[in-house]
Symmetry: C2
Subunit: 289 residues, 2 copies
């Protein structure tokens, strides 16, 4: 495949009969060059196929998921394009964007900041759900009626928020060890203070647990799938899944939360349960035809 | 599982119902602390299981294979322990051991050096085939009658040499993009001059193409499996598979060499064909009962 015109291919390698690419492009949304990974299965040479967007967690670039998860085998077998953006703008040189691994570069939280210091570049919500979403449909053989989103940790939250705020765009959502209640999680409080200032009502606009309570979009056919390792060091203090589970129950929003005994927060956990997430998304795509 | 006494556990993560560990130990063979990865499937808690030793290529540590290949899924499914050592001694501070990514640290070539400068520490052949081999049998639930070895690039060569020199220890051998004729490959010539001096007869003692010609051990039941990507940048100048294929033919030693169209030298290539190697080793283990 030749490189789409607005995209610059940084690397490509054949894997499971398809190709794992890394591209970059100049993003008008976040005002810098952005990289992303995209696996294109052989099947996409002949027909439009489903798309899964994967959002990574804190500290990740576009490399972690494509290097460590084993996703290529599944994307090939299921015939899905799988695309994963970087986790933040980079190289914008905003004071304080690199002091802390949990904020700024590698930690964009998939929100559109409102504070002037950050609001020009830290617009990852719009980047993912408008610009990135659009360029994938435009440049790859994606069936726009079969698009799902999932992610890990900060990216699991980003996936849930994307789904709740843009139900028309996604048929399905799932998550690995998501930060579930960002506006009360220590990471989220620190980041949202900077991105949004002191008005906590703004924080709640990017909080999965808050958003499900007011969600009025179509409900997924099957409960949304969330896997959480029981030995995850971040579970008690940062991830707070019970709050999301309770909010879903209260809102009669179907959620299938699985606590996986003995698993931690790493890609070893993700790789183990990744196929179950493919099965879940596939089923939603079939039910949505 | 508690940590075996001579080993120090650096990390452990549950994956596919088993565990991916990294251990270190003080190696008497190479005179420094050595790390290795070992995946222990759940099955090994109940019974002795086969062992595959994987040798990595130039620049690798014990991390590359366990992070990038997706081996845990297969090791779990097939019920194999899979162990992978580091690719060289480290921290020995020998002048010239870190000047070149293709020699010294991260590039031990799985040989026992004879030149005095290197011969104290650069004894990776004995390390892998005596000390490491022995500690795996002693400390993990390995069936010593079902042990195979495989590897990638420099490690593919190391696996072939280990098999040809120690046929009693291994039931099976396979390789991904091995350096096939080390004593004439540019990398090998540079390294072997340093490790062995100018006597090319010493070089040939660690050369798979030379060794198969004089091999008198038992022949494997099925041809040994070698996969090679056609788009591998190192193929023409460094890997030289035709010389090994010709030598095997001449020696009536069975080899199944597969050129995989479009694949490169990366872990994306390895992950794609890894299951075929598991199938090959499993079959040899079954035939060896």
């Amino acid at each position: 495949m030749s490189s789409p015109s607005e995209l610059t291919r940084e690397s490509g390698a054949k894997a499971f009969d398809g190709h794992q690419y890394v591209y970059n492009h100049e993003s008008s949304t976040v005002g810098c060059k952005m990289k992303f990974g995209v696996y294109v299965p052989a099947k996409a040479e002949k027909e439009r196929v489903p798309l899964l967007i994967f959002l990574s967690g804190l500290t990740c670039t576009e490399q972690n998921f494509i290097t460590k998860s084993g996703v290529q085998r599944l994307a090939s077998e299921y015939g899905f394009i799988v695309a994963n953006p970087d986790t933040s703008p980079r190289g914008c040189k905003i004071e304080g964007d690199s002091d802390n691994w949990a904020f700024g570069e590698g930690a964009g939280y998939y929100v559109d900041a409102t504070e002037s210091k950050w609001s020009k570049n830290y617009r990852m919500f719009s980047y993912v759900n408008d610009e990135f979403y659009g360029l994938l449909i435009k440049n790859f053989n994606v069936d726009p009626n079969r698009i799902g989103i999932f992610g890990h940790s900060m990216g699991g939250h980003g996936a849930l928020v994307s789904f709740f705020k843009r139900p028309a765009q996604y048929k399905s959502v799932s998550a690995f060890a998501p930060i579930c209640n960002m506006s009360t999680s220590e990471w989220g409080v620190d980041a949202y203070k900077k991105f949004f200032g002191q008005d906590e009502n703004l924080w709640k606009q990017y909080d999965a647990t808050e958003l499900v309570a007011s969600y009025h979009g179509p409900k997924p056919h099957a409960p949304i799938l969330i896997d959480q390792g029981s030995d995850d060091n971040f579970l008690a203090k940062y991830l707070l899944p019970k709050r999301l589970i309770n909010a879903c129950e209260k809102a009669s929003f179907p959620i299938y939360f699985r606590e996986q005994a003995g698993y931690d927060h790493s890609y070893y956990f993700i790789m183990t349960f990744l196929e179950d997430h493919f099965k879940y998304h596939k089923k939603e795509f079939e039910n949505s035809k």
